[in-house]
């Protein structure tokens, strides 16, 4: 990987301003999240591999052990459609930096991003090192995941496909890493409202981040837990901020929430709004499709929605993957943790407080791989990201990701001229 390649990615971003919109996300987000984060991940792994050394131990006076990291070989990667550029930029750089060849399958809903990026950077890599495989899941994804010539599969998606990929990997005795989504709790303790200041303003935005990327984020903070003594006052501010969201043409830099990526996602979200109501959830704001005029009339727009209910409802337990948050209240730390951990998943979580003790103890007790503390949806390259429980295993981002793409060669060297004496 060359710095030249990285800058080529950077230079073609003008084109990407338009391409990334093909999944409906607003350009405001593309410019401020997808592109800068993607470039950062390429730069990070290009630097991390240069800063790395193997290890050597002298086991005794005549024996030296060398531990060398070697690539696994050919990596299959299957990425989703919610961040077509960023997910590619999470998966490709660590696999390439560690010396592997990659066959990457983009999602069928968003094929153009990977293709156009590769057209720009293909000549940076030797032929055959990076391969983009397009096609439908049953016809391209499954053969890739089950092929005996693949040495490892890295997958981001949902649980049933994850289970199938692990099943195929078991036939080939291959390692896999899985990122399978979540139902992330975002917990607000009463001290956030001790002052009406910049921090409270940040906390309110933190609660409204459920609508970021139309809610199509694995770590969407889709369960909002608010301490009961601030519940009414805090939620009034959250509702006000949610209702101020501008939902319009994704190409307008002022648009905050765009359209859902596809009709089937749109229909799925609407079906969850229905079952939420049937289970008795109260709609605090939103709760329906959003009908815009003109060219946008047939767009897959959903109003940012807040549903109030309890944690046993299906809207609290299933990943809706839309701009929908389910809110409930808790009385104390114990109840907050009980609700937060009552889920099949464990990918992300948020904890907001001005209490220094809570800021350490609560995150430690949450069963999730990433706990954002007084922030949310930050994704720097140098912080490991991945799931507990049914959210998967293995990590993405951070230099520890490189070890998911390689194996250790141990060279055990004897400098002793004398025989063992057995034979």
């Amino acid at each position: 990987m060359s710095i030249y390649g990285i800058y080529r990615i950077n230079f073609c971003k003008v084109k990407y301003r338009h391409l990334i919109c093909d999944n409906g996300k607003p350009i405001r987000e593309t410019l401020n999240a997808d592109i800068p984060l993607s470039v950062d991940h390429w730069r990070y792994f290009a630097s991390a591999i240069r800063a790395e050394e193997s290890t050597m131990s002298e086991l005794d006076i005549h024996t030296v052990s060398l531990n060398l990291k070697e690539p696994l070989g050919v990596i299959g990667q299957i990425i989703p459609w919610n961040f077509p550029l960023l997910m590619l930029s999470w998966k490709l750089p660590p696999a390439l930096a560690t010396g592997n060849c990659v066959i990457l399958k983009p999602a069928e809903q968003t094929p153009s991003t990977a293709t156009l990026l590769m057209e720009k950077i293909a000549d940076v890599f030797p032929p055959g090192v990076v391969n983009i495989l397009h096609g439908f899941g049953p016809e391209a994804g499954k053969p890739l995941a089950s092929h005996s010539g693949i040495d490892k599969v890295a997958f981001t998606g949902e649980t049933t496909t994850g289970q199938l990929i692990m099943q195929y990997a078991s036939k080939n005795l291959n390692p896999v890493t899985m990122e399978l989504g979540g139902k992330s709790p975002n917990i607000f303790f009463n001290s956030v409202m001790d002052a009406d200041d910049a921090f409270l303003d940040k906390a309110i935005e933190g609660a409204v981040l459920f609508a970021f990327n139309q809610g199509e984020v694995c770590t969407c903070p889709s369960r909002l837990l608010v301490q009961e003594d601030i519940y009414d006052a805090f939620m009034a501010r959250v509702i006000e901020r949610t209702e101020a969201i501008i939902q319009d043409n994704p190409y307008d830099v002022n648009t905050m929430v765009g359209a859902q990526a596809s009709n089937d996602q749109y229909e799925k979200i609407l079906s969850y709004l229905e079952i939420g109501r049937e289970e008795g959830a109260k709609v605090l704001t939103g709760g329906a499709a959003c009908h815009l005029d003109g060219d946008l009339a047939n767009g897959f727009y959903i109003q940012p929605t807040i549903l109030e209910g309890h944690n046993k409802m299906r809207v609290f337990q299933e990943e809706i993957f839309g701009p929908v948050v389910a809110v409930t209240k808790f009385k104390d730390e114990a109840e907050a943790l009980e609700i937060a951990n009552d889920t099949l998943y464990g990918l992300g979580a948020g904890v907001w407080s001005r209490d220094a003790h809570q800021l350490y103890q609560i995150p430690r007790a949450i069963k999730a791989g990433r706990v954002w503390v007084n922030c949310y949806h930050a994704h720097p390259a140098h912080a490991p990201f991945g799931g507990y429980k049914k959210s998967g295993f293995g990590r993405e981002t951070h230099l520890m990701m490189m070890n998911h793409y390689r194996q250790t060669k141990n060279m055990l060297i004897s400098y002793d001229k004398n025989k063992l004496g057995f034979f």
């Binding site: 989703p80 459609w81 919610n82 999602a107 069928e108 809903q109 439908f136 899941g137 049953p138 016809e139 994804g141 499954k142 981001t156 998606g157 949902e158 649980t159 049933t160 496909t161 994850g162 289970q163 199938l164 099943q167 990122e179 399978l180 989504g181 979540g182 199509e216 694995c218 596809s262 009709n263 089937d264 996602q265 229909e267 799925k268 079906s271 969850y272 229905e274 079952i275 049937e278 289970e279 046993k312 299906r314 337990q317 299933e318 990943e319 809706i320 993957f321 099949l344 998943y345 049914k390 959210s391």
Partner: protein
């Protein structure tokens, strides 16, 4: 009265019939999680390893509908209807090349259904 946990629309049955003609025996497995999760997946029978942790919710058009036990614990108070919509899902589900996607429409079980099915 024999109540059911799952049902299927005519439109979905027609897609399923096309798939049966092409692939033979099939199963449904309810997915959870990210992206294309929370949707039913249809596979050739024998494709997916199933065991006692996969609950059989019922049969649709002769096809078994499974869900993992721990997911079922959160879903069992609801009735599921498999429908189909235009769309472009990303998973290994067999209907995807047809440009359609199976989706679930849910309702609460009635008290009568609930007492028969969940007791």
């Amino acid at each position: 009265m024999n109540y059911t946990r799952v049902a299927i629309t005519e439109a979905a049955t027609s897609i399923l019939d096309q798939l049966k003609a092409k692939y033979g025996d099939l199963i449904f497995h309810q997915s959870g999680g990210c992206c294309d999760g929370s949707s039913p997946m249809v596979f050739e029978e024998g494709e997916m390893y199933l065991d006692e942790s996969d609950i059989l919710l019922g049969q649709l058009d002769g096809i078994n509908y499974y869900m993992n036990q721990d997911q079922f614990d959160y879903w069992k108070h609801t009735h599921l209807t498999v429908d189909v919509t235009e769309g472009r899902g990303a998973s290994f589900s067999l209907e995807i090349p047809l440009g359609v996607r199976f989706i679930i429409r849910s309702r609460l079980l009635t008290p009568e259904e609930n007492s028969e099915l969940n007791n």
